[in-house]
């Protein structure tokens, strides 16, 4: 596929996924709410008149198809509706909480890049069976550990016991406060990055150009740094980009454990009070960021690597 057609193709695909996502969320709100949104908003003790007024305001007295149209045109004007609980615009509330989540996510992403790739490199260079067995086992444990349990354990060790790190909150954006939540959030994905970068790097190290480099007198580690690393990076980078979205969405429980004032924790409070517009709005924003980042990475890799353009894209 020529580059421009590839980009167009991916953008169209992204548009389809985004519209689909919006439709799924719309159907979730309008078909699954027991009773209707007005009932949920006003509670069980609302008067019939108040319900009717709100239904009219929300357009609930119109057929589903019209409601869908209204919903889409509101979204096109970046209007995500009004929160039932806070009586403020959903967009404004999300913008207030998004920076904290991005701050945490980027920190976790950096940790996972450095430690995941470093771990993968170490396993490639030191091909010892015992090290590999230990590493596979600890990776599996990291994957199986629930984030909240890891968070509680880290809080206990580093905050309560050793007293070297703050237990929760942002402490006025003190970088020390970022360490524990970022480590907690990054742990499971670090194990995955390590596994992927090890297998990608090891496969690259088996290629004949590395043999040629070794024949020229480079050590394994020099050959890895100078040649194999760059060529093995694509799958790792793709995974990291996908992880950005995963972490963004997955930050919720970490934010709750560490009282981190981000979008996930806010969404959780909204879900608890069944503030449907706020929950749906923030899920929509997070999913949109996720889809856009993935498409962007696909396009960049398609641009850089013709093999991707020919196939279905790095993400399959």
């Amino acid at each position: 596929m020529p580059p421009n057609r590839f980009i167009l193709h991916r953008l169209l695909q992204m548009l389809v996924v985004l519209i689909g996502t919006i439709t799924v969320l719309f159907l979730v709100i309008y078909l699954m709410v027991p009773g209707d949104a007005a009932q949920v908003a006003l509670g069980d003790h609302a008067t019939p008149e108040a319900l009717d007024t709100l239904r009219h305001e929300l357009g609930l007295d119109q057929p589903l198809w019209n409601q869908y149209g209204i919903y889409l045109s509101r979204l096109a004007h970046l209007d995500l509706g009004t929160s039932y609980e806070l009586k403020r615009s959903v967009g404004g509330i999300i913008l207030d909480h998004l920076p904290a989540t991005i701050y945490l996510t980027v920190a976790a992403l950096i940790l996972e890049t450095v430690f995941g790739i470093g771990w993968g490199m170490l396993l490639t260079l030191r091909r010892s069976r015992r090290l590999r067995a230990i590493s596979v086992a600890s990776g599996a444990v990291l994957l199986a550990l629930p984030v909240f349990f890891l968070g509680l354990v880290l809080q206990y060790i580093f905050a309560s016991r050793l007293g070297i790190l703050p237990i929760s909150g942002t402490g006025g954006w003190n970088p020390l406060n970022l360490i524990l939540p970022a480590v907690t959030l990054a742990a499971a994905q670090t194990a995955i990055i390590a596994a992927v970068s090890r297998s990608s790097l090891s496969a690259e190290m088996e290629k004949s150009y590395i043999l040629a480099a070794r024949a020229r007198g480079l050590t394994r580690s020099q050959a890895m740094w100078r040649h194999a690393f760059r060529n093995s990076f694509a799958p790792v980078a793709t995974l990291l980009a996908i992880d950005f979205g995963t972490l963004l969405g997955g930050a919720m429980i970490t934010e709750i454990v560490f009282s981190w004032p981000g979008l996930g924790r806010m969404t959780y409070f909204a879900a608890e009070s069944r503030d449907v517009p706020l929950v749906v709005g923030s899920v929509l924003v997070l999913v949109t960021i996720f889809v856009i980042v993935n498409t962007g990475v696909d396009i960049i890799y398609g641009w850089l690597d013709p093999r991707v353009r020919a196939g279905e894209g790095v993400n399959g």
């Binding site: 444990v141 994957l143 199986a144 349990f149 354990v153 070794r214 879900a271 608890e272 069944r274």
Partner: protein, 302 residues
């Protein structure tokens, strides 16, 4: 281990290298089968515990006793009591039923939907195929916990809704795996042979395509059960899953948040229970991948 010799040597003597890798391959096959048996035994152990819980002489997991709140492990209560004076051991064991049930039911639902959607995509022509695969893309763009939150906000919390939420966002991977697996199995020679021998389409699908296409779903499914157990624990931890006073490991941790110093027996056992259970399913998935993959002839020593 940075010995420049090994790689060169094996390459300069291709015959011996081939022999070696064959022996290594058979050894690996045997050891991966052993791993699978071990993983299956562990899963059976878990199931056995969960099934036998009602028969064990345990205290009531729900009955509160405000004279014995947050007592450390001792003679009367082997694992201590929680903040409501309930027996911690009994709650831990009863919660294993919740976790396994959620894992099996939610992933069973996701698998069922995935099989139907994936089969329809593989057999239904290109229009149905691209529609279903775009649907899969759409559902895959939701991180599962976020999607679940949206569903819980709408349907309300509770165990049944945990099943729905996990299956709702869990089916696309099964659909994709089954579709691509059916497509590749259908191209194999023995399918053509069966057709030549006069087998009907239905027979070919049921006897040949279906059983041979399930392999990748088995290993992914085992890991997905672990994922579902983690998701249930997470949702219950944030009070959107299993509701009080029913026992769930996630809920037990949520109730004892901030109690780590005073009563570690309330925090560590449920955390370890989740980790070990999920670990067993990850192990099962990994072992199944190794043992069922006919192309896996050697240990991944690269």
């Amino acid at each position: 281990m940075d010995s420049p010799g090994t790689y060169l040597e094996t390459n300069l003597a291709p015959g011996s290298a081939l022999l070696e890798s064959d022996i290594a391959g058979r050894q690996a096959k045997r050891s991966s089968n052993r791993l699978l048996v071990a993983a299956l035994l562990m899963v059976m152990g878990l199931v056995l515990i969960a099934l036998s819980v009602p028969l064990l002489p345990l205290q009531d997991p729900i009955a509160t006793d405000y004279d014995h709140m947050a007592e450390p492990p001792g003679a009367g209560h082997l694992f201590g009591t929680d903040l409501h004076g309930r027996d911690q051991l009994s709650r831990l064991l009863w919660a294993s039923r919740t976790s396994l049930l959620v894992g099996v039911v939610a992933i069973g639902l996701a698998l069922l939907v995935g099989l139907i959607a994936g089969g329809a995509a593989a057999y239904g022509g290109s229009l149905v195929d691209s529609f279903l695969m775009r649907m899969a893309d759409i559902f895959l763009s939701f991180p599962i916990i976020l999607g679940a939150i949206a569903i819980m906000a709408v349907l309300g919390p509770g165990r049944r809704n945990v099943f729905i939420a996990i299956a709702f966002f869990g089916w696309p991977v099964f659909a994709r795996l089954f579709r691509s697996s059916v497509l590749s199995v259908r191209k194999l020679n023995f399918i053509a042979a069966a057709r030549v021998l006069g087998a009907s389409d239905a027979r070919i699908f049921l006897r040949h395509v279906l059983p041979n296409s399930l392999t990748p779903l088995v290993s992914y499914g085992a890991m997905a059960v672990g994922g579902a157990i983690l998701a249930e624990a997470g949702l219950s931890f944030i009070n959107l899953g299993v509701q009080r006073p029913n026992p769930s490991w996630g809920l037990m941790l949520s109730e004892s948040m901030g109690m780590f110093e005073q009563s570690p027996w309330l925090v560590i056992p449920p955390g370890i229970a989740i980790t070990v259970t999920v670990l067993i399913f990850i192990l099962l998935g990994d072992a199944a991948t190794r043992a069922l993959d006919p192309l896996n002839s050697g240990p991944d020593t690269r």
